[in-house]
């Protein structure tokens, strides 16, 4: 690993103190049993098929063309979209516009480790998945030879990162007035011991990626991005190990969950439009007042002039 001279680096052999605490290494069974109580309730009190409530808003970043903020309890995602710009370092004409996506974790976002400041494999992979999911949603013919930059920053990671990033990016693109075919929404599911956890937390995702104690048990994570009105799957990623029927069942659940998010996104966008209309009306009124004041002044000066 080459040394990064552009930033400050701590000592190389530092380790997180958490690995010396008593409950650092837990067996799979312990972790698994912790996730759910006897009434099939998860740690945060949700039922298995219950997604977290989503909070989202637009106009988060003043300097960007469009921006959004999505919060799923502890998962916090910020996204900004900038004006189209010419595709850098390219000679060929591209008839379709490009989308450049970058997903970045804040150094302090993950509870298990400090994220390096240079992009790692997971971030690159998330960026690629985000790009693939957004491409079918955006009318790319509308800006040939140009690219739109979509930047996603994950402030705090508590599961369902990719889903959060896609939701945030969809909202920010709409906020930036980029033409799109449909509202894009996404949701993930974790499979642990043949149980389906909708909208998993970081802890649940961690266990889902772990090796189960017994062989042949389904485990893993699926994320689906949907264009719900058009009934199209825009992005699909699956990881882990599960049989075909499990994948198909989970996809059906996710399809419904994605549909549930659509009204929330629409509501925010409608509010956004109303706010903008109000603002422009207010500005127009102010401008008219100013003009009237100026006209009055003019009349006075005219009088003064004619008096002379």
């Amino acid at each position: 690993m080459p040394i990064d001279y552009r930033r400050f680096n701590g000592p190389e052999d530092s380790v997180s103190y958490k690995q010396y605490t008593k409950n650092f290494l837990k067996s799979y069974e312990e972790l698994c049993n912790e996730l759910i109580d006897e009434n099939e309730h998860r740690k945060d009190g949700r039922a298995l098929d219950e997604a977290r409530t989503m909070y989202a808003r637009t106009n988060m970043i003043s300097q960007a063309k469009g921006s959004s903020y999505v919060e799923l309890k502890k998962t916090k995602v910020v996204c900004s979209v900038f004006d189209p710009r010419e595709i850098p370092n390219k000679n060929e004409f591209s008839p379709l516009g490009q989308i450049y996506c970058e997903v970045k974790f804040a150094p302090f976002s993950c509870p298990r480790k400090r994220r390096a400041l240079v992009p790692d494999a997971e971030e690159k992979d998330l960026s690629l998945s985000l790009k693939k999911a957004l491409e079918p949603a955006v009318c790319r013919y509308a800006f040939p030879n140009y690219q739109i930059d979509v930047f996603v920053y994950i402030l705090e990671h508590d599961g369902a990162c990719l889903a959060g990033a896609i939701n945030a990016a969809g909202l920010a693109l709409a906020n930036a007035a980029v033409p799109m075919y449909d509202t894009i929404t996404a949701c993930s599911i974790a499979v642990i011991e043949d149980k389906l956890y909708v909208d998993p937390t970081e802890e649940e995702e961690y266990v889902a990626n772990m090796t189960p104690a017994k062989e042949g048990i389904n485990h893993g994570i699926i994320t689906v991005a949907m264009l719900s009105t058009l009934e199209q799957v825009a992005g699909f990623t699956q990881l882990g190990s599960m049989d075909g029927t499990c994948v198909i069942n989970a996809t059906e659940i996710l399809q419904k969950e994605c549909q549930n998010i659509v009204p929330i996104i629409h509501q925010i966008l409608v509010k956004d439009v109303i706010h903008n209309i109000d603002l422009s009306e207010k500005l127009e009124k102010e401008a008219k007042l100013r003009e009237a004041a100026l006209n009055e002044n003019m009349e006075e000066w005219k009088k003064l002039l004619s008096a002379d």
Binding site: V15, Q19, F24, L25, L96, R112, A121, K124, D125, L128, S129, K132, E135, P136, R140, N209, T211, P212, E215, G216, N218, H219, G220, L227, L230, E231, Q232, V233, A234, G235, F236, T237, Q238, L239, G240, S241, M242, D243, G244, V247, I248, T251, E252, Q255
Partner: protein, 309 residues
């Protein structure tokens, strides 16, 4: 392959062919092109394989090293994939052109092998929490003729099947340091259990149907493809050919959509099923080929072709 230009009529020809289940080269929608596979081609690697699928040529070498296990996974070994797109493969790979493709392939492989159902990393453990084997899987793409993912996954599985780890004679813990003694005998080694290692199948959507193993022309006709990775089957690698072992179903280890299009949910579900079936067929064929290679190796009757064939 972006340089390939097809006229609308040529595209129509391919489209109609796929619709009628008879592709331009005479295959049906679920047929693969002929493949050539040879293991043990690189003498300096612990395991190696070369696979040629039509014009796609891939060489895989496995290197082994002793490493420290991760803190949060003391009983597990490590696996690392590295893809190198040779500039000879296609003109696009010149300079840094192939880097993105190489990254996405190595990422795909890493994801496919992540689950313990696919590859048990416990078999790479030497001394829990202190030492483990780390396998470097170097994938060299010598020629690019489409369908890289499938070819790479086949070649990697073959190379891992061929990999021999030196036997550990003794491992003693001496004041916090591990004292390790490996066997001197080059024939005293351990084979890896890769029966369940996953294979990737790319399903390319052309018209309303999916085809496997698309040629470069066919890839040009489709906007969306689905890569399905599923585990292999133990019975295919049973050297005694006993069928008494229970036949386990293939499990999906990774599914990714590739390309700029989208899919209807129903089509997606059908494609996943089709993909799993294709993996099972492919795995069976690979199993037969690998078993034959191993038999030839044991009886010392193997004739090495290398790159001459």
């Amino acid at each position: 392959m972006a340089n390939l230009l097809l006229s609308p009529l040529e595209k129509m020809y391919i489209l109609h062919g796929v619709r009628d289940d008879c592709r331009s080269d005479g295959r049906t929608n679920i047929d693969y092109r002929p493949m050539e596979l040879e293991t043990d081609v690189v003498s300096h690697a612990s395991g190696s394989a070369r696979l040629r699928l039509a014009n796609t040529d891939i060489l895989v070498g496995v290197k082994t090293e002793i490493d420290l296990p991760n803190n949060d996974q003391p009983g597990y070994g490590k696996l690392e994939f590295f893809v190198d797109c040779s500039a000879n493969a296609t003109p696009e790979f010149e300079g840094r052109g192939g880097e993105q493709l190489a990254n996405s392939i190595s990422n795909m492989m890493q994801k496919a092998y992540q689950s313990s159902d696919a590859f048990d990393l416990k078999q790479l453990c030497i001394f829990e929490g202190k030492q483990c084997w780390k396998l470097y899987i170097d994938i060299l793409i010598l020629e690019c003729g489409g369908n890289l993912c499938d070819a790479v996954s086949l070649a990697v599985k073959a190379a891992l099947y061929n990999t021999r780890l030196p036997s550990v004679k003794t491992a003693l813990l001496d004041g916090g340091n591990v004292d390790l003694q490996l066997s001197d005998d080059p024939y005293d080694n351990k084979l890896l259990n890769v029966d369940l290692a996953p294979l990737l199948v790319t399903l390319c959507k052309i018209g309303d149907k999916f085809v496997v193993d698309p040629s470069a022309e066919e890839e040009n006709c489709s906007v969306i493809s689905l890569i399905v990775g599923a585990t292999g089957n133990k019975t295919n690698y049973n050297i005694d050919n006993k069928k008494n072992e229970s036949c386990t179903d293939s499990k999906c280890t990774t599914i990714v959509m590739n390309g700029s299009g989208s899919l209807a949910p129903k089509t997606l579900k059908n494609a996943i099923k089709q993909g799993i079936e294709a993996v099972q067929f492919l795995d069976q064929a690979l199993g037969q080929a690998l078993l034959r290679e191993r038999r030839e190796n044991v009886t010392m009757k193997k004739y090495s072709y290398g790159f001459l064939k």
